[in-house]
C-alpha cells in the first residue's frame, strides 16, 4: 500500500487494520546474486539501489539483529556535504542530492529537514579555515555562505556572541541545504522500498563464516544455515574488522566509540544545526523538541557501546559555552555507537582481494549523512564489478600507496581524529 495522506485517512476510517508489513520476514533462499552483510542504512540502501538502479533483485540483506540497530540508529542525524577535500565533496554531495529526493523516492517520510548546517568560527584562523572550506565547496558546486557575527546572532538568538566569551563567535559558514533527518526512518524506509522490489531482508541472521574457494567467495555461513551468493558486500560499521577476519582480511580500521545525548523535549529554541571550528560539540533540535548533542569520540578501541562520562561532560560544557540557556535543560538519555575509524578519516568502498567480496566501511563518525550515496556507489560496485568514478579514490590499498584523504590533516592515529 502506497503511503500518502489519503491512504492514512482511509486506514484511519478502517481502524488501521490493513496496513501491510513494511517488509516481509522471508526464510533465506539457498542462493542469491548478491548478499549484503549488515542491515544498517548502508546495506539497505545498497540493496535498494541494486534492485532499483541496476535491476539486480535477487538480493538478501543479512542482519545479525534488527535493521537499523547499529550506527544508523545511534547518530545525531546530521546531514551535510560541507567538507574541504574534493573527493569528499563528490561523495557527500552525491549523497546530499539523494537525500533531497529520498522521501519521494522510497515513499517513506524520512523527515529530511534542510534547516542549515552552520560551522562557527572563533578566531581569525577559524574564519580562514571556514572561508577556505566555503570557497572549495562553492568551486565544486556546493552551496556555502560565510556569515558575519551579526548574521549568526540573528540566526541563533540564544548563541553567546559576546566578545568576552572564552571562544567568541567571529562568524560562521552555513550550508543551508544541510540539516537533519529521522535516522530510524532511513533504515525502515529503504527496507520497505527494497522489499517491494523483491529484496529479502533477513533479520536475526548472523553471518558466522565465509565460503571461499580458490580465492573466490561462494557464499556465507549464518546462524540460519549456509547461503550461497555470487557476490557478497560487507557493510557492518563497527564490526568491519570481525567480519573481514572471516575472509582472513586485516583492515586499516580500528573500532572506537562515539557518544551522543539528548535533552528532554522543549518547544523550538534552536533552528539550525550548530557545529564549531574550535570546539568539538554539535547541537541541533529534533522535531520532537529534544536538543541533540554530541562531542569528542572516546578515543580508544572499544566495542562496548558504553562511553566514559567525562567525554559527555566536556560536550555539555562546550554546548553551554555556545548556548548558555541550555544549562537548565536536562540530559534525558545518552548512548554510544561503535565507529569504524579509518586511518585518514575517509571511508572505503572497494573490492577486496577475495574475488566477489566487496567492502564498504571505515566511515568513522560520519556515515549517516553518506547513507544514500554510499548505497548508490556500493550498488554500482557490486552490480558492475568496478568502482563508480566518485567511489574510485576510496580504495582499501590507499595506505600502501599513500593516496590518503585526510580532511583535518591529523594523521594516521584514529584517536587524534
Amino acid at each position: 500500500m502506497k503511503y500518502s495522506a489519503l491512504s492514512l485517512l482511509r486506514a484511519g476510517l478502517g481502524g488501521h487494520k490493513d496496513w501491510p508489513r513494511a517488509w516481509r520476514d522471508p526464510e533465506p533462499k539457498s542462493h542469491y546474486d548478491v548478499i549484503l552483510i549488515g542491515g544498517g542504512g548502508h546495506g539497505l540502501t545498497t540493496a535498494f539501489y541494486l534492485a532499483a538502479a541496476h535491476g539486480v533483485k535477487n538480493v538478501a540483506v543479512l542482519e545479525r539483529s534488527w535493521i537499523g540497530g547499529g550506527n544508523t540508529g545511534r547518530n545525531t542525524t546530521i546531514v551535510r556535504s560541507n567538507y574541504r577535500l574534493p573527493q569528499l565533496h563528490a561523495l557527500m554531495e552525491l549523497s546530499l542530492k539523494r537525500w533531497e529526493g529520498m522521501s519521494d523516492e522510497i515513499n517513506y517520510n524520512v523527515m529530511f529537514s534542510q534547516r542549515g548546517a552552520l560551522f562557527l568560527g572563533h578566531s581569525d584562523s577559524d574564519m580562514l579555515q571556514l572561508a577556505q572550506k566555503g570557497d572549495a565547496m562553492r568551486a565544486d558546486g556546493i552551496d556555502a555562505e560565510l556569515m558575519t557575527r551579526d548574521q549568526v546572532a540573528r540566526l541563533i538568538p540564544l548563541l553567546d556572541v559576546s566578545a568576552g566569551a572564552r571562544y567568541p563567535v567571529q562568524g560562521g559558514l552555513i550550508q543551508r541545504r544541510g540539516g537533519t533527518a529521522r535516522h530510524d526512518a532511513v533504515a525502515w524506509g529503504y527496507a520497505r522500498a527494497a522489499d517491494r522490489l523483491g529484496v529479502d531482508i533477513i533479520q536475526n541472521c548472523e553471518v558466522t563464516g565465509m565460503d571461499i574457494t580458490s580465492g573466490r567467495i561462494t557464499g556465507v555461513q549464518t546462524t540460519r544455515g549456509a547461503i550461497g551468493a555470487d557476490r557478497v558486500g560487507i557493510a557492518v560499521a563497527g564490526n568491519s574488522g570481525r567480519v573481514a577476519a572471516m575472509a582472513d582480511l586485516k583492515l586499516p580500521i580500528e573500532s572506537h566509540l562515539l557518544q551522543a545525548f539528548v535533552s528532554e523535549p522543549v518547544k523550538p529554541m534552536i533552528d539550525t544545526v550548530i557545529m564549531t571550528q574550535s570546539l568539538h560539540c554539535y547541537i541541533s533540535q529534533s522535531d520532537k523538541g529534544e536538543i541533540v548533542l554530541g562531542g569528542d569520540p572516546d578515543a580508544y578501541p572499544t566495542y562496548s557501546q558504553r562511553g566514559a562520562p567525562h567525554i559527555i561532560e566536556k560536550a555539555a560544557a562546550e554546548a553551554l559555552a555556545l548556548v548558555p540557556a541550555l544549562s537548565r535543560l536536562r540530559m534525558l538519555r545518552s548512548w554510544a555507537g561503535t565507529t569504524d575509524m579509518s586511518f585518514d578519516g575517509s571511508p572505503f568502498i572497494d573490492a577486496t582481494p577475495v574475488e566477489g567480496l566487496y567492502f564498504n566501511g571505515g566511515w568513522c563518525y560520519g556515515g549517516f549523512k553518506a547513507t544514500p550515496g554510499s548505497g548508490w556507489l556500493f550498488a554500482h560496485l557490486l552490480a558492475r564489478g568496478e568502482s563508480h568514478p566518485v567511489a574510485a579514490p576510496f580504495r582499501l590499498d590507499r595506505f600502501e600507496t599513500g593516496h590518503t584523504m585526510d580532511e583535518p590533516g591529523v594523521g594516521p592515529m584514529p584517536q587524534n581524529r
Binding site: R242, K250, P252, E254, P301, T302, S304, F399
Partner: protein
C-alpha cells in the same frame, strides 16, 4: 570512566591517560617499508583481549602496556613499557 592501574602510580582515572596504539602497530624507523605499512596501517582490531600501548600522560607520563578487553573494558594485565611483557 575506566580505572587504569598505572604500574607506578597505582589505579588512576582514565582521564589521566591517553591511548596510543595497539602494541602490534609499534614500528621503528629502522624497520622495512613493508613492515611499516603492514603494522602501522592495518589492525587485528580484536573484540576481546587486546594488547595496547597507553601513556599516563597526565600523571607520571610513563608508557604502559595494557591487556584490555575491548568488549568489557576489563584490564587483565599491565606492565611498564620495557618491563618484559
Amino acid at each position: 570512566m575506566m580505572l587504569i592501574p598505572c604500574p607506578h602510580c597505582g589505579p588512576r582515572a582514565h582521564a589521566e591517560f591517553t591511548f596510543d596504539r595497539p602494541v602490534e602497530a609499534i614500528t621503528r624507523p629502522d624497520d622495512t617499508a613493508d613492515a611499516l605499512v603492514r603494522n602501522l596501517f592495518s589492525r587485528d582490531n580484536p573484540r576481546g583481549h587486546s594488547r595496547e600501548l597507553w601513556r599516563h600522560t597526565y600523571g607520571c607520563r610513563a608508557w604502559i602496556a595494557l591487556t584490555r578487553d575491548t568488549a568489557t573494558h576489563a584490564i587483565t594485565d599491565v606492565q611498564a613499557w620495557g618491563a618484559k611483557a
